[in-house]
Every structure is written in structure tokens, then in C-alpha cells.
């Protein structure tokens, strides 16, 4: 959108005035730091949202218990967007104009991220997006701690093609995440001289895959790669197992497990699915064990802990670390701390920010679903977000505000 200069200036002017940021006389020591969060705590996407809401509260409580940040308490403003994108924009405006928060950790689907990212950029509110996604977002005001295709998709395709063959049938959720991830899958497959036979897209509320399963059998691929998202798409894995196909054609997925699908399916239905991601409850590090214990102590059921709940927790801890390093809550100061290469040791391993892309280098685990557990086959330490790094260099041109898509 051609952001007309006049509008941007008036927006920046009024909101700065409204927030009173530059002209606040002296820091009132007692004034709480405000952390805003918008997540889908109800509706079709609540299988992702509810655990993230718990993780957010846990992170804030733990920071406050340790004396808060810079001696100030953190106040959490949590909103439930009810799986409705329109409420994302509503609450984003509310966080900026009324609550005047200092940072926002929120958004689950890429659609919701794109609905609110511009609002936070225009009002100079620092925004963290802590969910795996299709990569390519280049915006100085936005920090991403979730995995990108280069980190999580490439290992799956690499391993799967070596193990099963090079004819792939892709199923993907029909929105920006699914569309772009499907392109990355095609990109990595063609790099390895494979062929994507067909790509089918499914809106989030489709739950009848009978005809699709028949078409897959017709195409007879070496394996199926799924980037399906949400509660309704769970029906695919169930109908795939019900027809006995899980014994015939192997299945790899870029999103399976993120919504605890392996717990919803029975052992027999889920076994053998190949996935890769930043987190699994089976990670044997003390940090993870301790995290799960603390989660339990708060009365939470550890079964529901999944990758993006951990990413949200790690994102908040990383932000806190940067505030401590910057010694101030000002957005510019925190951004400088971020761009000086901040990192933390989270339950999913080391989370190190790359200054050029504001994305995180993460440990990636190649996993196989076995008896409703994500057993780790192989771990790649600190895989960089190389896909976004190809296009985005925020140090060279900080004014960048674009989401790049892979060109096949």
C-alpha cells in the first residue's frame, strides 16, 4: 500500500503525543511496563491459542516474581480474538490507542499477523511474532522467534526424499502460510531433482477429504507433504488412517504436532508421520524438564504444551533480556539491544536473534511420531533463517516494510 507520507507523519505525530513518549518528564519508577497480547483463546484456532495464553501468563508471572524489569512490574493485557481476524485489528487498535502498551506478543495465523503488523509499525509499538510461519517478513519493528521454511521445511524434505523417493503430493491450508510454504516445498524438492505431482489447497473449515485421498492414490506419490492447519484439517489424518493409507504412502508435515494433533489421534493413526520443529516435549535438556515442571506446578496440564506455546514463552523471555541489556523500555533502545545479537537459553534450546533479519537462529529437531510422542531422530543446532536472509537486510535499509515470497 503506497503509504502516503502525509498520513504517516500525522499518524506518528498524534500517536507520539497520545502516548506522551518523548515528552514524559521522568520515569515514574513505579509505573508498570505494559505487555499486550492477542491470541485465539476460542473458536477453530483455540487448539493453538489456549496453551499460548497460559505460556504468556507464565512468562509474565515469572519475570514479575524475579523482581520485574528495571525494577518495574509487568502488566499483561491479554485479548481473545475468538478466531476472528476482524477482532485482531480491533484489539490491536485498542492496545495502541487506549492501553498504550510498550510491546506486543501476539498473532497466531499469518493472516492475523499481517492484519496487525502495520498498526503496530505505524504507532511505533514493538511487535513480537512467536509462531512458525512461511518466512520473508522484513520489518524493523517486528521480531520473529518462530521457525521459517529454510529452518524447518528443508530438513523434512531432505530426509523424506532420501528415505521415500522424489515424487511428492502436497496438501496445504489455503491462506498465505499454506500458499507460500507449498512454494518453498516445491523449491526444495526441485533443488533435489524431485517433482511435486500436485498441490491441493484447503480452506481452514474443510473436513471432508474422501475425494482427496482417492486422488492421492490415483497420483501414487512417494510421500505426501502436509501443511494443513487447524482443528477441521485434523480430519484428514484420521480419514487417511481410517482408509489404511498410513500403511501405504508415508506422510511428512510442516505443521503436524504444533496443535497437539498427535495427542488427538490414536497411536496407530499418528505413527510414522515425519515432522521437524523447534520443540518437542521429549527434548532431554534440564531447561525443558524444569520448564515442564514449572508449567505443572502452575496447575497446567503439560500434555497441551506445544511448539508455539514454548515459542511465545521464549519470545517474552528474549524481549525481557533485551530490555535488561538496553537498560530502558524505549523502543529504539530495545531494538538496538536486539540488533546487537541478543540470545537466551529456552526450553527449546538457544534462541539467538540475527540482527539483519530480526529472526531467530534455532535448534531444529527432525522428529517421528511414535505412540503419541514426538521422538527426535536428528537435531540441527542453530539453523539460520537463510530464506529470509536472502532478501532482507534491516541494517542496510532499516525502512524496509515488506513480506518477500520465494520466486520459483
Amino acid at each position: 500500500m503506497a503509504l502516503s507520507r502525509r498520513r504517516f507523519m500525522t499518524a506518528a505525530g498524534t500517536s507520539a503525543l497520545a502516548a506522551g513518549l518523548p515528552f514524559r518528564p521522568a520515569f515514574a519508577q513505579g509505573a508498570p511496563i505494559k505487555l499486550g497480547s492477542i491470541l485465539d483463546n476460542s473458536g477453530n484456532l483455540d487448539i493453538y491459542g489456549k496453551p499460548m495464553v497460559i505460556a504468556t501468563a507464565m512468562a509474565v508471572d515469572e519475570i514479575n516474581a524475579a523482581g520485574g524489569l528495571l525494577g518495574r512490574k509487568i502488566e499483561l493485557k491479554q485479548y481473545d480474538s475468538q478466531s476472528d481476524i476482524a477482532l485482531y485489528t480491533k484489539y490491536a487498535q485498542q492496545l495502541v490507542r487506549e492501553d498504550k502498551v510498550d510491546v506486543v506478543h501476539g498473532g497466531i495465523t499469518s493472516a492475523s499477523r499481517e492484519a496487525i503488523r502495520q498498526t503496530f509499525r505505524r504507532s511505533n509499538t514493538l511487535y513480537f511474532y512467536n509462531v512458525l510461519y512461511e518466512g520473508g517478513v522484513c520489518d524493523r519493528n517486528c521480531v520473529v522467534t518462530g521457525t521459517t521454511p529454510a529452518q524447518a521445511v528443508e530438513p523434512i524434505i531432505d530426509h523424506a526424499m532420501k528415505k521415500w523417493g522424489n515424487k511428492i503430493y502436497t496438501l496445504a491450508a489455503d491462506y498465505n502460510y499454506g500458499q507460500i510454504t507449498a512454494k518453498w516445498v516445491a523449491h526444495y524438492v526441485e533443488d533435489r531433482k524431485g517433482a511435486v505431482l500436485k498441490t491441493d489447497f484447503f480452506p481452514l473449515d474443510v473436513s471432508d477429504f474422501g475425494s482427496t485421498i482417492a486422488k492421492i492414490q490415483e497420483a501414487a506419490p512417494s510421500f505426501v507433504c502436509s501443511a494443513l492447519v487447524g482443528g477441521a484439517h485434523l480430519a484428514f489424518y484420521r480419514q487417511w488412517a481410517a482408509s489404511g493409507m498410513n500403511k501405504k504412502i508415508p506422510l511428512a508435515s510442516t505443521t503436524f504436532g504444533v496443535g497437539n494433533e498427535h495427542l488427538a489421534l490414536s497411536g496407530a493413526e499418528g505413527d510414522g508421520i515425519l515432522i521437524a520443529g523447534n520443540y518437542s516435549q521429549e527434548i532431554a535438556t534440564p531447561a525443558n524438564k524444569d520448564f515442564l515442571a514449572r508449567w505443572q506446578k502452575r496447575g497446567g496440564d503439560t500434555k497441551i504444551v506445544h511448539e508455539i506455546a514454548v515459542s511465545q514463552y521464549q519470545g517474552i523471555m528474549l524481549w525481557a533480556e533485551c530490555v535488561r541489556k538496553a537498560g530502558s523500555i524505549e523502543r529504539e533502545a530495545v531494538l538496538k539491544a536486539i540488533e546487537s545479537g541478543a540470545s537466551i537459553e529456552g526450553p527449546a534450546g538457544l534462541v539467538a536473534i540475527e540482527p539483519k533479519t530480526h529472526h531467530a537462529a534455532l535448534d531444529i529437531h527432525l522428529m517421528l511420531v511414535k505412540d503419541q510422542k514426538l521422538t527426535i531422530l536428528e537435531t540441527f543446532k542453530q539453523r539460520p533463517p537463510s530464506d529470509t536472509a536472502q532478501y532482507c537486510d534491516l541494517q542496510k535499509n532499516p525502512g524496509e516494510n515488506k513480506q518477500y515470497e520465494v520466486k520459483i
Partner: protein, 350 residues
């Protein structure tokens, strides 16, 4: 639902002035972000209240025209840039689509529950289709339909003639309030006109209206189209408020919600639907600001209680209360014995 006369007596200007003043002065006492949304939802509810309350046309899929208005504006503003033409298109496209579908239904003698299902099917088709347009191929001019992602960051309403000067925040609140008041006056004017009275006649008895020579299908199609244009305007204003348009504007939930606002507010009145939209709208937003209580539980319980306890909705209940309060004055007026052509019978529009 017993009729309430033509439902609209002479407009009592002092009530209208008070109502308008309250809305216009609101920004002095509170922020305008949420009130703008509530005013938009009130306009949407008004459009259904006019068509359903007065012409008896119950649409299960009124969100279709709300959504068409929103999407038409977003797509047009990307391609045209300046916002005045897209605003007009956001009125015309829903009106045209409604005219076509309305004519098809009403000349096919489709009524009551079948009319409900037909309108439901229209909005479901739009929802399912728009939800599946995330691919690159789906674009009109330089506007990508975007499917589930919706269309974000299109040029919003600007001062007519000056594309640079976007309107948002409190000035935008005033634009929305003026649209709402304008729509209310238009609705009053329609209902006071012969066309409006014919609609009420049709609501009461279609056959008799046909027998005295009214072209019932044409009149129904006309009000269906006018109401769709009003809903399209609400959709367009919503698009500019949210600065994004997503297929959820066509959702089943959106259609059902507006029906509930009209019923809870008071069917057969104009103020009722607006009241219902504001009250239930703010409740939904308030419930969304907390995660302790599940909001569908609360909203569900409220709806059941309203139906069982206040069957005819808030507005008529308020009117009944006001009537009891005003009965003393009525006796005095009776004494003077003024003779008036069309007595206003139990109309909530004070």
C-alpha cells in the same frame, strides 16, 4: 407479532436532536474506537430492522451484502486510489446483487423459511468462495482477494478530492455517526412515504395488497435492494475501521448476530435494532477482553433469557414502560380532543 400501525408517526424532532447530540458529543467523554464499531454495527442492524421489521422480509444471510460492501470498497480503493468512487460502488454493488437475487426470489413467490434458506445459501456461497481465493490467481486489478488472509492495508476513506488526507480516529467516528443518522432519517422518510406504508401493508397481508393493485414482488425487491445498499455502506465503513477485509464478514455467525441484535433490540422498530447492536456489540467486545469466562457461554445464556423473559425485545419493553409513565399526559391531551389522521400506535420511535 401484532403490527404496530404503520410503525412510524411524525418524527419527534426533539428526541432525534437529543439522540444525535449525544452521539456527536461522545468523543469529548470517551475514546472513539469502540463507539465507531458499535455505530457501524448499529447501521447494519438498522438495515435488517427496516427490511424485516416493516416489510416482513427475514434474511438469514444479510451479512452477504455487508461483506459485498466491504470487499467492493477494498478492491475498488486499490484500483482507483481515491475513495469517493469506491464508497459509491460499495453501495451500488450490494444493491444490484440484492436486486437480482431479490427479483429471482420474490417473483418466484418464495417466502418465510424458504426465503431464509435462500438468503443463507447466498452468504454461504460468498463465504466459501472468498475463503478459497488465497492463491495468486485470484486478483481484480492490483487487488489480491487473499482468501482467509483477507485484504489488508487498502487506502482508507479520504477527504473527497484529496487522496492524501486519510480520515481516521475521531474524524472517522463523525463520518460514521453522520452515516448512521442519515440512514435513520432515510428509513423514517421511506416508512412515512407511500412506498413505506405499502411495505407495512405487505407485511400484514400480501394477498390483499396484490388485490388492490400493488406489484408486491417489485416492492419487496426494491426494499430488499435499499436495505442491501445500507448494509453495504455499513460493510464499507467497517472495512475502513478495521483496515482489513476478511471472509468472516460473510460468515454464518455474522448473519446470525445481526438477527439477534434486531430481535433483542426490538423487531418492528428502528431504534430497537440500533440499541440491540450497541448493547450486545459492546458485550461481545467486553467478553473478548478477558479470558476467564468463555464468551459463547455468556452470550448463549443471555439470548435464552431474553427470549423467555422479554420476548418482544428491549425497545418495545422500554416503550411499554414509557407508555405507563406517559399515560397521565395522554389523559390531558385527550381532553383537548385534537383530531389526527394517522394515530401513532405503540411506536418505539418516540
Amino acid at each position: 407479532m401484532t403490527g404496530s400501525g404503520f410503525g412510524v408517526g411524525r418524527l419527534r424532532w426533539h428526541w432525534f436532536a437529543a439522540f444525535a447530540a449525544a452521539l456527536l458529543l461522545l468523543p469529548l467523554v470517551s475514546e472513539t474506537n469502540t463507539p465507531t464499531l458499535l455505530a457501524i454495527w448499529a447501521l447494519f442492524a438498522l438495515s435488517l430492522g427496516l427490511m424485516w421489521g416493516y416489510a416482513g422480509l427475514l434474511s438469514f444471510g444479510h451479512a452477504a451484502y455487508f461483506g459485498l460492501g466491504a470487499y467492493t470498497y477494498a478492491i475498488a480503493s486499490f484500483n482507483i486510489g481515491e475513495s469517493t468512487a469506491p464508497l459509491l460502488l460499495a453501495l451500488l454493488v450490494p444493491a444490484l446483487v440484492a436486486a437480482i437475487i431479490g427479483a429471482m426470489m420474490f417473483y418466484g413467490r418464495i417466502s418465510d423459511v424458504y426465503l431464509g434458506v435462500m438468503t443463507l445459501v447466498v452468504t454461504l456461497i460468498l463465504n466459501r468462495f472468498m475463503n478459497a481465493t488465497a492463491g495468486d490467481a485470484y486478483r481484480i486489478g492490483n487487488a489480491r482477494l487473499g482468501g482467509f488472509n483477507g485484504i489488508p492495508a487498502f487506502p482508507t476513506l479520504n477527504v473527497p478530492g484529496d487522496p492524501g488526507e486519510q480520515i481516521y480516529g475521531t474524524p472517522y467516528y463523525y463520518v460514521v455517526v453522520i452515516c448512521l443518522l442519515g440512514a435513520y432519517l432515510l428509513a423514517r422518510w421511506i416508512l412515512a412515504s407511500s412506498f413505506g406504508r405499502a411495505l407495512v401493508g405487505i407485511r400484514e397481508n400480501e394477498l390483499r395488497m396484490e388485490l388492490i393493485g400493488y406489484d408486491v414482488p417489485a416492492l419487496k425487491t426494491l426494499i430488499f435492494s435499499v436495505s442491501a445498499a445500507m448494509a453495504g455502506l455499513a460493510g464499507c465503513l467497517f472495512a475502513n475501521w478495521a483496515e482489513i477485509v476478511t471472509p468472516s464478514v460473510f460468515s454464518l455467525g455474522q448473519s446470525a448476530e445481526v438477527i439477534i441484535w434486531v430481535i433483542v433490540g426490538g423487531l418492528g422498530t428502528l431504534i430497537g435494532p440500533m440499541l440491540g447492536a450497541a448493547v450486545l456489540g459492546s458485550l461481545k467486545i467486553a467478553l473478548g477482553s478477558q479470558t476467564t469466562v468463555d464468551n459463547s457461554l455468556v452470550l448463549g445464556a443471555i439470548l435464552i433469557l431474553v427470549v423467555l423473559l422479554i420476548p418482544r425485545g428491549f425497545a418495545p419493553a422500554l416503550v411499554a414502560w414509557r407508555r405507563r409513565f406517559a399515560s397521565a399526559q395522554a389523559h390531558r391531551r385527550q381532553a383537548r380532543g385534537t383530531r389526527r389522521r394517522h394515530v401513532v400506535i405503540r411506536d418505539a420511535d418516540a
